[in-house]
Symmetry: C2
Subunit: 424 residues, 2 copies
Amino acid sequence: MSATETEYLTQLGQRAKAASFILANLTAKQKTALLTTIADHLTLHKNEILQANAQDVAAAKQNGLTDAMVDRLMLDEGRLGGIIADIDNVISLADPIGKDAESRILDNGLRLTRRSVPLGVVGVIYEARPNVTVDIAVLALKTGNAVILRGGKETLTSNKVLSEVIREALTSLDLPKDAVQLIDSPDRSLVSGLLRLDKYVDMIIPRGGQHLQRLCAEQSSIPVILGGIGICHLYVDKQADLMRAIEVIANAKVQRPTVCNALDTLLVHQDVAADFIPNIASHLHSLGVRFHACVNSFHYLEGLGFDVTPAHDESFSTEWLSLTLGIKVVNNIDEAVGHIRQYSTGHSEAILTDNINTASEFMNQVDSAAVYVNASTRFTDGSQFGLGAEVAVSTQKLHARGPMGLDALTTYKWLAWGDYTSRQ
Amino acid sequence: MSATETEYLTQLGQRAKAASFILANLTAKQKTALLTTIADHLTLHKNEILQANAQDVAAAKQNGLTDAMVDRLMLDEGRLGGIIADIDNVISLADPIGKDAESRILDNGLRLTRRSVPLGVVGVIYEARPNVTVDIAVLALKTGNAVILRGGKETLTSNKVLSEVIREALTSLDLPKDAVQLIDSPDRSLVSGLLRLDKYVDMIIPRGGQHLQRLCAEQSSIPVILGGIGICHLYVDKQADLMRAIEVIANAKVQRPTVCNALDTLLVHQDVAADFIPNIASHLHSLGVRFHACVNSFHYLEGLGFDVTPAHDESFSTEWLSLTLGIKVVNNIDEAVGHIRQYSTGHSEAILTDNINTASEFMNQVDSAAVYVNASTRFTDGSQFGLGAEVAVSTQKLHARGPMGLDALTTYKWLAWGDYTSRQ
């Protein structure tokens, strides 16, 4: 990183930290007023935002981005309206800041409490989705945090306008505009630099693929919330209701195949494999699913007109994010659990069984953020879990695991009152 | 790191992970039996342990370690008895594993719960204190975690015997001995290697000085709990009771000057500085305290026979761990808060004031793990806070902040039961 870049990031960090001290002590009412003003300003500057986004879309097409990618970064009146409407949803959530827990009088005479407070400064690195710019800024402000945003370079023009509108809303209320800052250069070394700003940044949330997650885990000196990568498994036990299983598996695989909680690998108990595998494959095939089958399941599937490939090792270590499904026959629940322990990213796993002991065993032995009995893996989601908002889905174990609501953007401090009290 | 070292650490990690799955599902009764057996085995092998420790002590003396360091690594019958007695204390704590929170029926029909579970594998890097070997192993096992220990090289002989005795206790109960493993080579590159074992290790706790903390923050791809470094401040407001202040400040500074919650910098409001600074200095001087004084406080202190040095910038960024105290005059609370924000390590800060508004302001503006009104900083401690045990004192904001009890060695997983339920 050049000296200029270091200086740029240091200033960004210092300004964010300074702003965070002001944000930390806003009342819920002030934060509501702020979010309302942001929604108003976004509405006011709708045309400007859509024009900036049109430039990103045109450049993306020119640069040969896939239709799917262009679609993800595209805003229109409807989508922008949805983004603005979502702010109302965040406004309606309870403010998680300033709550006291574990309040008590200690034996040493102090009155102690553990108060929820904002983290301070949150750094978020994300892909080319302009909705995330607004979404994350709003969640950070709602919880009294300052935020440093680093979005995908393909949406830099949109993000610049969106963040400027939000900053203008802050200024209009005499709040520090540096509560929301965008890294406005596409230079990749700025990501590495951001990951070392531990003097100013309290948490890094990478919202992106495996490469970004790995980069953050390896390079960051700031605590990182890894997540959003799901190699998800569903195990069909020999005592599952095989008729009802079909719909659940189809739901897990095809309802929205491009997301992290979609099913990647189906594990089937050997005792029911011969009957069940052709049945489920037939149903999934009709929905457009392709298969990577282990030796045993390939045997049940070949020659039936399905799109089936013999599985290689990578078949089971791939998050498909598409209509491909790995299938593997296992001897028993131990082998199913062993496979999951080896290949899972710790996101979501499910078992289908009518046997209560088998269900308990699966829940106890599988070490993932969300473990389901007789349900689709697709439920791992802040909104489905009733958290109101979703900051990210954590697949690591510290601080927050699984869908992260507003609480995940808070920490606590211990406050103690004495009467000129000394320790004995 | 050599290929042999990589292989050594990988096997250590794999064995720890395998053991952790068994540990995770022990009942509280089984864990109590385990800890009791460990205490018994330590008593049984007392002589062996003391002999091994005597070798470490002899080598330490030969290698010219300071008396203080030799004292810290030395075990005798009394100290070993204390370590064993502490196990009873841990046994008596409630088991934090298996507790359900936020249990409810979701709108989508699932029954959801958030269950506390062990982290899995914890890596602990610590200095030459053999008591930590037992202490951390016991806390990890109590919470169903496997642990990889890396102690100071000066106690390697003691640690080998201690960990072998604990492993023997595990084996005697048919539990996996690899729940407790010691890195049994002093090679420093093994520390760096441990910090990259993210495939197997879920959390790193460095219990040691600033250099170790920094190394872990920069090199670890595993979440790290930084802590135990305290540049602690106490601010004497103009409305403090200046008589009663003296005892609290003396307590914060001299009761145990070598620990992280001892006072490092005294900030004094300018309106009371001329009277108070000579008074407090006189009392502290009688207790052996030396001073690093800012220009203004130096002016009040010089020529009175105290041991006083003009402060330089490092005076305020040093954790003294000794009978030295920085003193600075500030214009008002804002300057006090500003100084703390600049120099604090986020551990413990205190204000002395009889003004409720000033007290609130200090609590709201200071962003440290523990903030005190009219009390000594020395209270930041798991036992003083009533946590029963202290894993470490975290100065970072994610997962755990301040004194960490058993809960800090747990995470949670989301469990959901459906009736072959699909997402709409």
